[in-house]
C-alpha cells in the first residue's frame, strides 16, 4: 500500500494513500486534526483554511498527491505553547465569534494578510477577507479585530 508522509503542526505523519482523498478528510477523519472545518468541500467558503508552508491553502481541495512532503499548519498550530497569536487574542478581545465554525479559517487568512500588509486599509481587508464566508455575519468585528491585531503586532 503506497504511503505518504507530511508534517501537520510540526508533527510528522504517515498515512496510506490509496486514492486521491482531499487533505481535509485525511486531517479530520483519519488523523483527528479537526480545527479545519468542512463548510463547502469545493474551496469556496474558507472554513478549512490552513497554511501549506507559508501559503494559505484550502485543505478541502488539496489532493493527497500535493500533500506529500509538505508542512501544514492548522488553527491548532497557530498558538505557540499556550501563548496565543496576536490575531487570536484580538479575536477574543473584540468578541468576534458567534457560532465559531468559520473562525479558524478567518483567523488563518487574517494572519497572512497582516504578514503581507502590516497596517491594512479597509479596502485591503475587503480584498483579503471576502472569500472567507461567515454566515453569522461577524465581518464587522473581524475588521475591528484585524485592526486591533495590526496595532499589537
Amino acid at each position: 500500500m503506497p504511503e505518504i508522509t507530511f508534517n501537520v503542526n510540526d508533527t510528522p505523519v504517515t498515512i496510506d494513500a490509496e486514492n486521491d482523498d482531499a487533505l481535509l478528510y485525511l486531517l479530520r477523519d483519519r488523523l483527528g486534526v479537526r480545527g479545519p472545518k468542512y463548510g463547502c468541500g469545493v474551496g469556496v467558503c474558507g472554513s478549512c483554511t490552513s497554511f501549506q508552508g507559508g501559503e494559505l491553502v484550502r485543505p478541502c481541495i488539496v489532493p493527497m498527491s500535493d500533500a506529500a512532503g509538505a508542512s501544514f499548519t492548522t488553527i491548532e498550530g497557530l498558538a505557540v505553547d499556550d501563548v496565543l497569536h496576536p490575531v487570536q487574542q484580538a479575536w477574543i478581545d473584540e468578541d468576534v465569534a458567534q457560532c465559531g465554525y468559520c473562525q479558524a479559517g478567518q483567523i488563518m487568512t487574517a494572519v497572512k494578510l497582516l504578514e503581507r500588509i502590516p497596517n491594512p486599509t479597509d479596502q485591503d481587508i475587503d480584498d483579503a477577507m471576502s472569500e472567507n464566508y461567515c454566515r453569522c455575519g461577524t465581518y464587522h468585528r473581524i475588521r475591528k479585530a484585524i485592526k486591533r491585531a495590526a496595532a499589537a503586532l
Partner: protein, 774 residues
C-alpha cells in the same frame, strides 16, 4: 370614542398581569381587542368599511374620522412570546445547577447554543444570582428531557424572556440555601451572612465554601417561584459586556461540533446520494463499484427527509472523502420527484390565485398606495451543514446533534424507529449556526434510520450542496399591501390614512417542530393550516394609527421543505409594510420621519425612531445615487429602529452597498450588551444578504443553487464600514426577545433607502436580481 391610546396599549401589553383578572377592566380590554381582531374577518368588516366610507364623504370631518374604528391586532394583546412563555411555564423551574467538590458550578442549560450567545447570557444570570464569578461556572447544554415538554425549545427569540424569571429565581433560591446553611454552621443570623465568589462569610471573617454547604439543585423546583431575585440596582454581571465563554476554544480550534466528537469511536462517516429532484425516490441501484473502493464500509438504501417521503442511498466509509467517492460511483436509477414540472413562476401564479383580496377602495376623495411584493425562497445555509451521530442498537437509540427542538426530535425518531421516546437519547451539541434551520432535525432522523438499517453507529453529514438543494428554506412569499389616504382634510390639517391591508400568500411554512405542543396542545402536525394562522396573527401587527387595518395570510402546500428563517413572517411582511409606509409619507407630501412620528401609536417605537434619526443625522445631504432610509419593527416585546445609508450604482456590474447602519433597540433590559450587539450586526448582515443579494430558485422541481458560489450571502466587502448600535436603558419590564428583532427593521431600511436613492419602488427581492441599481 373608541380610539386606541398609547396608554391603553401599554397597559394591555403584559398578558401575565391581564389574564388572572378576567372581570377587571384590563382583561375586558384584552378580550375586546383580541376578539374584534378575529371578528373583523367576518361580517364586522363590512360594517366597519361602511362607517369608514360614510365618514369620509360626510361633512363633519374631524368627528367622522374619529368614527373610523381602529382594528386591534391579536399581536397587540397576546403575541407569540406570550404563547410560548405561557405554554412553557409549567416546565421552566427545572435546572441542574450543581456545586461540585472543587467549588466550581456545573450548569446545564435546557436551550440550544447556535452562536446567538444564549449560553453566555444564561451563565451571566446564574453568576449574578448565585454571587459567583462567571468563570467559576462550567456550562453545558441539557440533553432532551421528556419532562420538559415545551420548556426546552429554542426559537422565536424567546430564550432570554423565558429564562429570565425562572433562572433568576431558581438560582436565588439556591443562594438562599447557601445562606441558611452557612448561618447554621457559623452560628450567626442569616441576614449577617454575605456571599461572594462562591464563599459565604460571617461578619467576624469566618468563611465557608458553597461546596461545604450544598450540592446544588437538580430537577423540578416549583417552590423557587416564591424566591426573590436580586434587585437590579445591585447587578454587577447582568448588563455588563461579557465575551463569549468559549471564545478561547473557538480561536484555538478546540471547540467541538457534532462531527468533531469522539463519543462513539466506531461511528463512521456517512453521506447520502439524494435524488435529482425534490421528492424523488430510488428505483434501483448498483453499488458493486462503490463497494470495491478503498475505505467504503457499507451501502444502504434509506428513506430521507424528516417524513421519509423520499429516498436515497447512504454510503458509509472510513473518511468523508472516501464516502463521497463511493457515492459518486453508485449507479442509481431514480423515480421522478413530486414536483418535476414546478418552478418559481408556477408557485407565484398559484399564490396570486389564493391570495385574499384587499378591501375595495373607499370611493371619493381617497387615494391609495399599493404594491405587490415578492420575496424568494431563502436558504438558511448555516456554516455547519446538517450533521448527526447516531448509534441505534438493541431497541434504543443514542444521537448527538445540534437541534433546537430536542424533545420533538426525540419523539420523531422514536416514532420513526418504532421504539419509545424514553429509549431515545438526544444529546444537544453546540452548533455552527441555525437561523431557523435547526428547528428541524433532518440529519438526526436520517442518521438514526441509517444506523438502524446498517446495524452500526454512523456520523451523517449533509454536503453543502445537499444542504442547499435539500435543506429547508424560508418560503417564497407574495404580499399585496394597500393603504388608502387623503392628503389633507377639507378644513386644513394633516392628511389621514383610512385603511391598511396586507394580504400575504405563501407556501405552507412548516411549524411542526414543537411550537405546536406549545400553542395548541394538539400539536402543529395535526392542524398545520389553522396553526399557521395563530402564528401569523400573534406575530403581525401594524404599529401605526392607520384606521381600518387588516392583515391576512393564506397558505398552500408545495414540495419545497420550509422552516422559519430568522423570524417567522416578519422578515418579509414587515419589509412590505414599511416600504408602503414610506410611500404613504411621500404621497401625502410629508417627511418619512415626521409622518412616522405622528402616526405611530407606540411610544417605545417613537423613542427608538427618534434616537436613530438623531444619531444618524436624518436628512443630511447625500451624494447622488445614495440615500438614507428607515425601518421599524415591533415584536417579541421589543422595538427596533434602523437608519440605513445605501450607495446604489447604475452600473450593473457594481452592487449596491450599505455604507452605514444606525440601530436603536428597546428590549426592556439588555443582559449582555456585547452579545446583543453581535446579534444586531448578524441580523443586519442577514438583511443585506436577503434584501440585496441572494435567494433560492426552484427550477422544474429542483433547487438551482448549490453552494455559497451561487447562493451569494454577504461577504466582508458587502458589510457596512460603519455600524452604530444603541440600546434604550432598562425600563423595569422582563427582557424582550432580540435575536431576530433587528432583521426586519434593517431589511426595510435598506429597501427604503434604495427607493429614496433611485426613485424605484422596490417590489421584488433580492434587489440586485431585479433592478440594475441594486
Amino acid at each position: 370614542m373608541t380610539t386606541r391610546s398609547p396608554e391603553s396599549h401599554a397597559e394591555t401589553e403584559d398578558i401575565d398581569d391581564a389574564l388572572p383578572s378576567p372581570t377587571g377592566v384590563l382583561a375586558t380590554r384584552v378580550e375586546r381587542r383580541s376578539f374584534i381582531g378575529y371578528a373583523i374577518k367576518g361580517s364586522a368588516l363590512a360594517v366597519a368599511l361602511t362607517v369608514g366610507a360614510d365618514s369620509v364623504t360626510g361633512s363633519d370631518d374631524a368627528e367622522a374620522l374619529d368614527l373610523l374604528p381602529p382594528i386591534p391586532e391579536l399581536a397587540n394583546a397576546l403575541d407569540l412570546t406570550d404563547l410560548l412563555l405561557l405554554s412553557g411555564d409549567p416546565f421552566y423551574y427545572d435546572y441542574l445547577i450543581r456545586i461540585e467538590a472543587d467549588n466550581r458550578v456545573r450548569f446545564e442549560l435546557p436551550r440550544m447554543e447556535v452562536g446567538q450567545g444564549i449560553l453566555t447570557a444564561a451563565v451571566m444570570i446564574v453568576a449574578e444570582e448565585l454571587d459567583v464569578a462567571v468563570d467559576m461556572i462550567d456550562p453545558s447544554l441539557s440533553p432532551a428531557e421528556i419532562r420538559r415538554l415545551t420548556g426546552q425549545i429554542t426559537g422565536g427569540s424567546h430564550s432570554i424572556s423565558s429564562l429570565w424569571d425562572p433562572l433568576r429565581k431558581v438560582t436565588a433560591a439556591l443562594r438562599q440555601m447557601v445562606v441558611l446553611a452557612a448561618a447554621q454552621q457559623l452560628g450567626v443570623p442569616a441576614d449577617q451572612i454575605t456571599t461572594q465568589d462562591g464563599i459565604a462569610s460571617a461578619p467576624d471573617g469566618r468563611t465557608l465554601r458553597y461546596a461545604d454547604l450544598t450540592n446544588g439543585v437538580e430537577g423540578r423546583n416549583d417552590l423557587a417561584r416564591l424566591a426573590v431575585p436580586k434587585d437590579p440596582s445591585a447587578y454587577r454581571v447582568v448588563g455588563q459586556p461579557t465575551g463569549r465563554l468559549d471564545a478561547r476554544d473557538i480561536v484555538t480550534g478546540k471547540v467541538e461540533y457534532a462531527m468533531d466528537l469522539d463519543v462513539v469511536p466506531d461511528a463512521m462517516p456517512t453521506v447520502v446520494a439524494r435524488p435529482p429532484t425534490l421528492g424523488g425516490t430510488v428505483a434501483s441501484y448498483d453499488d458493486s463499484v462503490a463497494r470495491s473502493l478503498p475505505g467504503v464500509i457499507d451501502v444502504v438504501e434509506v428513506p430521507i427527509d424528516v417524513e421519509g417521503a423520499s429516498s436515497g442511498v447512504a454510503v458509509i466509509a472510513r473518511s468523508f472523502g472516501e464516502a463521497f467517492r463511493g457515492r459518486d460511483a453508485l449507479e442509481i436509477v431514480w423515480n421522478g420527484g413530486t414536483a418535476d414540472d414546478l418552478s418559481d413562476d408556477d408557485i407565484i401564479d398559484d399564490l396570486r390565485r389564493i391570495n385574499l383580496p384587499t378591501l375595495p377602495s373607499i370611493p371619493l376623495l381617497t387615494k391609495k398606495v399599493s404594491g405587490e411584493f415578492i420575496f424568494p425562497y431563502m436558504a438558511h445555509a448555516p456554516m455547519e451543514t446538517m450533521t448527526a451521530i447516531a448509534d441505534v442498537s438493541g431497541g434504543s437509540a443514542r444521537v448527538w446533534t445540534g437541534v433546537k427542538t430536542p424533545v420533538a426530535a426525540q419523539a420523531k425518531i422514536a416514532r420513526d424507529l418504532g421504539i419509545l421516546p424514553t429509549s431515545v437519547e438526544i444529546n444537544v451539541i453546540k452548533t455552527g449556526g441555525s437561523f431557523g434551520r435547526r428547528l428541524f432535525f433532518d440529519a438526526a432522523v436520517e442518521a438514526a434510520r441509517i444506523s438502524s438499517i446498517a446495524g452500526r453507529p454512523i456520523k451523517l453529514m449533509f454536503t453543502r450542496q445537499e444542504d442547499t438543494k435539500f435543506g429547508r428554506a424560508r418560503p417564497l412569499s407574495i404580499h399585496n399591501v394597500q393603504a388608502t389616504y387623503r392628503t389633507r382634510s377639507l378644513f386644513g390639517g394633516k392628511g389621514r390614512v383610512f385603511s391598511f391591508d396586507h394580504r400575504a400568500a405563501t407556501p405552507e411554512l412548516d411549524l411542526r417542530h414543537g411550537f405546536g405542543e406549545g400553542i395548541t396542545a394538539l400539536g402543529g402536525e395535526l392542524v398545520p393550516f389553522g396553526f399557521s394562522q395563530t402564528i401569523w396573527h400573534s406575530t403581525q401587527l401594524v404599529q401605526y394609527d392607520f384606521g381600518l387595518t387588516t392583515l391576512l395570510l393564506n397558505e398552500k402546500k408545495f414540495p419545497v421543505a420550509t422552516s422559519s428563517w430568522r423570524g417567522i413572517y416578519s422578515g418579509t411582511a414587515v419589509v412590505a409594510n414599511e416600504v408602503i409606509v414610506d410611500e404613504l409619507a411621500r404621497a401625502m407630501g410629508e417627511d418619512e420621519l415626521d409622518f412616522r412620528m405622528r402616526t405611530l401609536d407606540d411610544e417605545r417605537s417613537k423613542a427608538v425612531l427618534a434616537k436613530v434619526a438623531e444619531l444618524g443625522d436624518w436628512g443630511r445631504s447625500m451624494p447622488a445615487g445614495s440615500a438614507q432610509g428607515f425601518g421599524l419593527h415591533n415584536e417579541y416585546k421589543s422595538r427596533a429602529a434602523v437608519l440605513c445609508e445605501l450607495q446604489t450604482s447604475p452600473d450593473p456590474d457594481v452592487d449596491a452597498r450599505v455604507t452605514k447602519l444606525v440601530v436603536s433597540l428597546d428590549v426592556n433590559r439588555v443582559v449582555n450588551p456585547t452579545g446583543l450587539e453581535a446579534q444586531v450586526i448578524g441580523a443586519a448582515t442577514d438583511a443585506i444578504s436577503s434584501i440585496l443579494r441572494t435567494g433560492l430558485h426552484l427550477d422544474n422541481g429542483a433547487i438551482r443553487e448549490s453552494s455559497y458560489g451561487d447562493f451569494e450571502i454577504a461577504q466582508m466587502k458587502h458589510t457596512p464600514p460603519e455600524i452604530e448600535v444603541h440600546f434604550m436603558p432598562p425600563n423595569g419590564e422582563r427582557p424582550g426577545g432580540a435575536g431576530e428583532l433587528a432583521l426586519p427593521a434593517v431589511a426595510a431600511a435598506i429597501a427604503n433607502a434604495f427607493a429614496r436613492a433611485t426613485g424605484i419602488k422596490p417590489r421584488r427581492f433580492p434587489l440586485r436580481d431585479f433592478y440594475q441599481e441594486g
